[in-house]
Amino acid sequence: MSGHLTAIEVSEWLAGTRAASAEQHVAECAGCTAELERVRQPLTQFSAVMRAWCAAEAPAPRPEAIPAAIHRQRRLAVLRVALATTAALLVAAPVYRQHLRSIEIALQDDALLEKVQAEIARPVPEPLQPLEKLVAWNAPAGQTGSGQ
């Protein structure tokens, strides 16, 4: 490497890309060493300020809070499941009741239909049945009123 480090080479150096020739040159060149130090200095100061400032802002480490937080998370998860189940039941209960009611109505309808069918199928309407007996009593054996 013949010349001094260019601006890009200085940035590359700081970014961790260092060609062997550049390393050799910097080792021998006080100017480039000083230039690298000059560029690095604000970054070093920035790091120092960050460390001091964040140390002042940082909460005290509380390792004991970790298991407690995990238990809290688990309790919350259980609570969420319970709430979801309750909500599902609250939504499902009226729907299920409605379903039962519709079954009940259908059964009642079936019973009514059967009753109507039975009424229609009768040879003599129910109010005239006593008369039918009378007719059956006067008729010869083996004959009923309905057959005439």
């Binding site: 100061q45 120092a48 300020v49 480490p61 390792p63 004991e64 937080a69």
Partner: protein, 189 residues
């Protein structure tokens, strides 16, 4: 110390104990909080994510195989949390609504090493402020890489593991970040 923790964590992973994890929290919480605070610039989310980071680490401790250092492993969790946090519109809403943002003027008064003259001191503070402002203009990935390299002083290889990137990609991001910062602090040759 780091090696001791690695052994401790590996032992803990097999035993499911708690004692060594206490040491992990004590030793690494400041760095995780610092990285998150520097990235987010808001104390409350940084504190919450720090707690979440150790919570996840605790839950995932059995999966830790010691392939990376504890710090790298924790930083990887922190980076993932940071990405999730940024993506989450809900959290973004709460961040705007509830959090008290830190003063965007960086507290350069924390500069612990007074210069030889008031002028040099003022110049140094101004340069630190310029770096702070320049970091804010970086892309999220460049910022994370920059902070991990120059504040957390992690090696390129460690940053690559923590961020799930190739070393070459880390160097490329770092180069662009350094160029931007140098441009902002008016430090070009």
């Amino acid at each position: 110390m780091e090696r001791t923790l690695e052994i401790g964590l590996a032992a803990m992973a097999s035993e499911g104990g708690l004692a060594d994890f206490d040491a992990v929290v004590r030793d690494h919480q400041p760095a995780v909080f610092r990285f998150l605070l520097a990235s987010l610039r808001e104390r409350d989310p940084a504190e919450n994510l720090t707690q979440e980071c150790f919570l996840r680490a605790y839950q995932a401790r059995r999966g830790f195989r010691g392939e990376a250092s504890v710090r790298t492993w924790l930083m990887r969790i922190a980076v993932n949390l940071l990405n999730d946090h940024r993506k989450s519109a809900r959290l973004r809403f709460w961040r705007r609504a509830t959090a008290v943002s830190l003063d965007p003027a960086f507290p350069a008064d924390w500069l612990a090493d007074p210069r030889s003259s008031p002028e040099a001191d003022a110049s140094a503070r101004e340069q630190v402020r310029a770096v702070w402002r320049a970091v804010a203009t970086l892309s999220e990935r460049q910022r994370s890489v920059f902070l991990l390299r120059f504040v957390e002083e992690m090696e390129i290889r460690e940053i690559a593991v923590a961020m799930g990137l190739q070393e070459g990609t880390v160097k490329a991001h770092l180069f662009r970040a350094v160029e931007t910062v140098r441009g902002r602090i008016g430090d070009r040759r």
